[in-house]
């Protein structure tokens, strides 16, 4: 009899352990317990996620994580950045090592539907391009038949590249490296004729070259690369928080709210602004956040446009044009759902 009860107890424990793993889904609670947001970023990509000379992470992707920290913890500095290579990123998110993956990651069907992940929006609309050395004398990607191409492993870039060359009946030899640094070094050393990546990255990597003026980016854009933050599937609350943190940054730009003027505009009569700062409307209760969550984001991180200018636009060495990343009202693609 004693044996039977102990067997039953053992199996009950086993079942409990299996089902116990399922309940661990409240990312927000764990973030509040830890006191910081764990954010997966690149190993160093100027303009998107790159540590500055003081060791502080800066960039478009970094701002998303800071916004989430401001919304959830009220302090944009409470982020722990974890640099990941393209190969490591999804496993790190799946296994719970990070809370958000914000690492110029392209939103694709495979990634969204089969990896147990959710894309929380788009913070940069990009497209794949080619960078070549100027003395190669190439003016168009169509002239690249037979070229050796440096690529970073584990990216959509690898797939687009072979589609493009196959479609245009050209051949190439792929030289695949693990990190973007190695890719740039290979390109610089002449191991390959062409470096291919998302256009924004090409501009960012070009300034890493010893002589940036020796290379040029070809005009062709061969793919759609909507880049955005990613979270684990199965925690809708956290998904909503990341999605709306990004939406808040875009909406703030539309409303003309900046980190500089939000304190003075806070008491504005405009009902949209009143809803934005949490005096009215849905506030933060639906996401279990404080009422001024969106105010904290803008106050501490700034709106989307500010971040763009500071990180990749005219205020940065990259000098990337707003282009399609302008607001919908200014001819771009950025269109955030209303906050009401």
């Amino acid at each position: 009899m004693k044996k039977i009860t102990s067997l039953a107890a053992a199996s009950a424990i086993a079942i409990g352990m299996v089902s116990g793993a399922q309940a661990a889904s409240a990312t927000l609670d764990s973030v509040k317990d830890k006191g910081f947001v764990q954010c997966g970023v690149s190993t160093g990509l100027p303009g998107f996620s790159n540590p500055d000379e003081k060791g502080n992470w800066q960039g478009m992707d970094v701002d998303v994580c800071r916004a989430v920290a401001a919304a959830t913890l009220g302090d944009a500095s409470k982020v722990k950045f974890i640099p990941l290579t393209a190969k490591e990123r999804f496993t790190a998110l799946q296994s719970g090592e990070i809370d958000i993956l914000s690492r110029n990651t392209t939103w694709t069907q495979t990634r969204d539907t089969t990896l147990g992940l959710n894309f929380a929006g788009v913070n940069y609309y990009d497209g794949q391009g080619f960078m070549v050395s100027k003395n190669l004398g190439v003016k168009s990607a169509k002239e690249l038949d037979g070229a050796a191409v440096c690529i970073q492993s584990g990216t959509t870039t690898e797939l687009n590249l072979s589609d493009y060359f196959r479609l245009n009946k050209m051949t190439f030899s792929p030289v695949v490296f693990d990190s973007s640094d190695q890719t740039v070094k290979g390109f610089e050393a002449g191991r390959c004729d062409v470096l291919t990546s998302d256009q924004s990255q090409l501009y960012a990597l070009r300034i890493k070259l010893a002589d940036p003026s020796s290379a040029m980016v070809l005009p062709e854009v061969i793919s759609k690369e909507p880049l955005g933050p990613v979270v684990r599937q199965g925690d809708d609350q956290w998904f909503n928080i990341v999605k709306w943190s990004l939406n808040a940054m875009i909406n703030a730009e539309e409303l003309g709210l900046t980190s500089a003027n939000i304190d003075s505009e806070k008491d504005s009569a405009d009902p949209s602004i009143a809803r934005f700062v949490g005096k009215d409307g849905p506030k933060g209760s639906g996401m279990e956040l404080s009422d001024d969550w969106a105010y904290q984001i803008i106050k501490q991180v700034g709106n989307y446009g500010e971040g763009f200018e500071r990180n990749v636009g005219s205020g940065s060495p990259l000098k990337i044009d707003r282009g399609v990343n302008a607001l919908w009202s200014q001819g771009g693609f950025l269109y955030a759902p209303p906050m009401r």
């Binding site: 086993a14 147990g116 037979g146 050796a148 196959r166 030289v175």
Partner: protein, 396 residues
């Protein structure tokens, strides 16, 4: 006397089965096996359950999907339209290629250096010592990066290639003329097969004759003549059924011919040079393990120094050498996975890198990769153990 003792025990007082050490041991072993099996069953079912609740696709269906990416070096036909399963084969063959060549080069280098270190010639033995001490004590990853970044990458660009006859060397690799076999070349291959068979027969005949009469026949020279001469004569009779495909600079790169990519060169050099140092030390210890009385006896019998080494010392040293040599081969095969650091498309880089990323099926892919390394190394161990058995001292 003992039979009396047995008779003294009454059959009725047979010990309970838990008091019988054999049966008790059996019981514990069964329990142990059940626990281990249960543990694995539990973690596998747990992983499957969690993957399912998190919406992560599992299973091996991805192996049939088309890969969509290209691989720099493939020994079997491959392009982006082939399946992920094919990327596995391509990666595996690339790993086997570098491992196989690495084992051959490391063994050759190791034997030469190991014997050189024991040389009476001061210069030769010091050169061997310097080689061993330098390359044994620098981490392998650093050596791979050294050969790749510091030696091969600074080579000139394709347009300024170093010309070596019909071959070209630049920072994209070594471009060699490739043989093109035309119809009729099959006969040359048949001639070669006949020559090999004849050589095997010749060796057996020579051994038998030497055992019986003590006379020796210059087998080495005759076999070399057979191996080269017979196919060559057939080649001429068939009207030279082979031409060369020369590499030509066209556009950005050389086209045609055969290419040895710098990633393969760097990895192969680093692996061979590094593992060669360990093999050299193993060879040296093996030779020193043969007592000097053996060579003295051989000299007393009038054998030359060369033949003493070949007939007396090395066969006995092999018994000491083979077991640690096997571990070095296994290390070399495992170390080849460092290829990913310089972008050589081996199994880890192609399958556990790109394929894993494009499909996201980490558990299946890592499991397959580990199983492959395990299988390769088990096979190598098995072959080396068979060889060891053949080489071991036959006691009479």
């Amino acid at each position: 006397m003992p039979s009396d003792v047995n008779k003294g025990v009454a059959p009725s007082s047979k010990p309970k089965f838990w008091n019988d050490p054999d049966k008790r041991a059996m019981l514990f072993q069964i329990l142990m096996i059940l626990t281990v099996l249960g543990f694995f069953a539990y973690i596998i079912s747990n992983a499957l359950y969690n993957l399912k609740t998190r919406g992560i696709t599992t299973g091996f269906d991805f192996l049939d999907q088309s890969a969509g990416f290209e691989i720099l070096l493939h020994l079997i036909p491959f392009d982006a339209t082939f399946s992920f399963g094919r990327t596995f084969m391509v990666g595996l063959l690339n790993t086997l290629l570098v491992s196989f060549l690495g084992v051959i080069f490391a063994t050759t280098l190791g034997f030469v250096m190991g014997i050189a270190r024991l040389s009476d010639n001061w210069l030769i033995s010091k050169v061997a010592t310097a080689y061993i001490e330098i390359f044994r004590n620098i981490p392998l990853l650093l050596q791979i990066l050294f050969w790749y970044v510091a030696v091969l990458q600074p080579l000139p660009l394709p347009k300024q290639s170093i010309e070596m006859g019909a071959a070209f060397l630049n920072n994209r690799g070594l471009y060699l003329p490739a043989p093109v076999f035309e119809s009729g070349f099959g006969f040359v291959m048949i001639a070669l097969a006949i020559a090999i068979a004849a050589v095997v027969f010749l060796f057996r005949w020579n051994k038998k004759r030497q055992d019986e009469t003590g006379q020796r026949f210059p087998v080495i020279w005759v076999s070399l003549g057979l191996l080269i001469g017979l196919p060559f004569v057939v080649y001429l009779i068939m009207g030279s059924p082979m031409s060369w495909d020369y590499p030509v600079l066209k556009g950005f790169n050389f086209r045609g011919g055969a290419t040895i990519i710098p990633e393969l060169m760097a990895l192969l050099i680093a692996l061979s040079v590094y593992t060669g140092t360990f093999i050299a030390e193993i060879v040296r210890s093996g030779i020193l393990a043969v007592s000097s009385g053996q060579s003295e006896a051989a000299q007393a019998l009038g054998l030359s120094k060369n033949r003493t080494l070949r007939l007396i010392v090395i066969p006995q040293a092999m018994r000491v050498i083979i077991p640690p040599l096997t571990s070095q081969y296994l290390n070399l095969i495992k170390n080849s996975s460092l290829a990913t650091a310089i972008g050589y498309p081996d199994l880890v880089s192609v399958f556990m890198g790109t394929t894993l990323n494009q499909t996201g099926q980490a558990i299946e892919i890592i499991f397959m990769t580990m199983a492959v390394y395990l299988t390769i190394n088990m096979i190598v161990s098995m072959l080396m153990n068979l060889y060891n058995k053949r080489m071991s001292l036959v006691e009479r």
